[in-house]
Symmetry: C2
Subunit: 394 residues, 2 copies
Amino acid sequence: MTPKDLPFSRPEFQRRLTKTRIAMEKAGIDTLFVTDPSNQNWLTAYDGWSFYVHQGVLVFPDEDPIWWGRRMDANGGLRTVWMSDDRVLGYDDSYVQSTTSHPMQDLAARLRAMGRHTGRIGVEMDNYYFSAKAFEVMQAELGDARFVDATYLVNWQRSVKSDEELAFMRKAARISEKIVDGYLDRVEPGVRKNEIAASIFHDAISGVDDIWGDYPGLMPLLPSGKDASAPHLTWDGREFQHGEATFFEISGVYRRYHTPFCRTLFLGTPGDEIRRAEAALVEGLEAGLDAARAGNRTCDIANALAAPLTRAGIERGARCGYGIGLSYPPDWGEHHASLRAEDQTVLEPGMTFHFMPGLWMDDWGLEITESILITENGPAQTFCNRPRKMFVKD
Amino acid sequence: MTPKDLPFSRPEFQRRLTKTRIAMEKAGIDTLFVTDPSNQNWLTAYDGWSFYVHQGVLVFPDEDPIWWGRRMDANGGLRTVWMSDDRVLGYDDSYVQSTTSHPMQDLAARLRAMGRHTGRIGVEMDNYYFSAKAFEVMQAELGDARFVDATYLVNWQRSVKSDEELAFMRKAARISEKIVDGYLDRVEPGVRKNEIAASIFHDAISGVDDIWGDYPGLMPLLPSGKDASAPHLTWDGREFQHGEATFFEISGVYRRYHTPFCRTLFLGTPGDEIRRAEAALVEGLEAGLDAARAGNRTCDIANALAAPLTRAGIERGARCGYGIGLSYPPDWGEHHASLRAEDQTVLEPGMTFHFMPGLWMDDWGLEITESILITENGPAQTFCNRPRKMFVKD
């Protein structure tokens, strides 16, 4: 047996497997093929930057999961998953980005050999790592199976965090605070944006004390001035300018667990428009935190936020948050509940969200956000502890 | 019109569009829907970390392309693409990660409104960003269309680089060299791996002179000792140990263009086995570089590499390289030609590859690689210039 450095206890992985099996049974799924790397990691502890080729986890009702992927990555499987070595399967390298064969042919052959090629097979239809082609090949190869859309099935099992997971998120939050302290200290007019991005990565990955930093599911975003009207620009080599607001969308990460945390820095003297928006946004955040109580619903948070913004004449037109925790690129959201008026999810203790009401206006952008934990009683707790405001350097 | 900072000249974008239209005509495609973020950027200059939601570029035979995505990201589209503002379309935020609606419904409605809903529509069936669900919804919504698999169609147009692109890759190579110099200097027994990963990011993104660094398509990989038997582990908080080899798989990146460059560092005195492998690998690399001539084929490089390795008793069982240049996560390969025995691509001047014959053995790993350019005459040029060997610190 290969030596392991498992992130969580064996009972924690059993808890996850049991929850998933119950959800499979409810959905009438006999065999579940999990392609979302976050779901793979949550179920098996598999870790590695190998999701750029086809790979996945098979979950059965009655035996341990199997990790399946490219043969060279099976070595990573042996070193990271909690299952025994015989539960790690590799396919030949000739399948990789081939135009004459497809890895799903190998998976189908293995399912046939296991007698798991009939019945109802769950697949994550709307995941990045389950392409239209992968599904087409599976359908062609497994004519006796019925396919069931299991998009978000495992993601929903992840929505309430265990104490072990919350401990990881609290570590990530310490890194998030370090990142914020760093850029607030270093950004000045004339400093190049990529220099600040470089120091954000350095702070994030060097971590805090023995809390080593992992890579984030989203790269840091730090657009300035008019560029901040666009929510997802990264950085370039230009200098920070006097008279501009920059939002910094970052997250500390500990062993794939994220606590995103955004603040905005204005260099110079902010005008009335952005100051009024800041006041309404902070009022909305505080109202939302107060509404974020067990038994309330996700839409209650969104509606509490919207009231002061509407009074200030701001219509956001976008969701104001999403479930967070374990994630791999290209996202750090967990893809279950969203904070928005049309989402009716009942809040439970242990749920964690990025309460993220970014304002992306025509000429500027403003982000002041909190990663939050739903508690047994009272309003949400925030993971990070820094002033809830737009920072200003005059 | 929104002010732009386009990475390339207008004629360069026209060249790309013309090449793509010729390939579309040859494949019998009337309308091409491009979801690969690298292909989107290559065709339109769209840039932003927004590919975690459905988005894409529509290419037509007879009018400018359209960038289509989430409404908030249309702001990023306006700021980055070369087309006029009316060629940027956004869909409502309620479609995002919804269980009751899908963004492809919006795309289908727009295609119908444009009269582009019939005929042959090309889609990238095996791309991360074209899920099984996206295709299912398109098929349901566009019953009068015929769908054509256009996987890798645009990627192949990217295989020969323009002079403008090669200038970007030469800038990226200077960053790659800086990264290598940095970790060779800093790594010592007792230094934590995440500290080195942090300084790799700092070197990569602070860049060289006015060459600002961009984020890589693959995160840095730096496994040590037995962990280096697995090719795609990232890092953790453990210390470097005396007596272990660590390979460093990194790439400098300038405006999305990559020149990956891997070296291995042994702390202590290497044993005979890894020394023999190093000698065979360097001999194979040099034979491969000599075989990498215009008119030869990709398999010639692979076969030239394999001969000395086979004599040393090493069977790799994996491809030894792939096309490189423009890329977004989760990969820095361009997904066209591979260097392997079964690939018959004829080498042309301007093609660029990561010649990457990693050795992942049972107890150790060794990576010595080169990013290469196929020239008019003579063997391949390397983008980076550092000794082609395993480095040793005793």
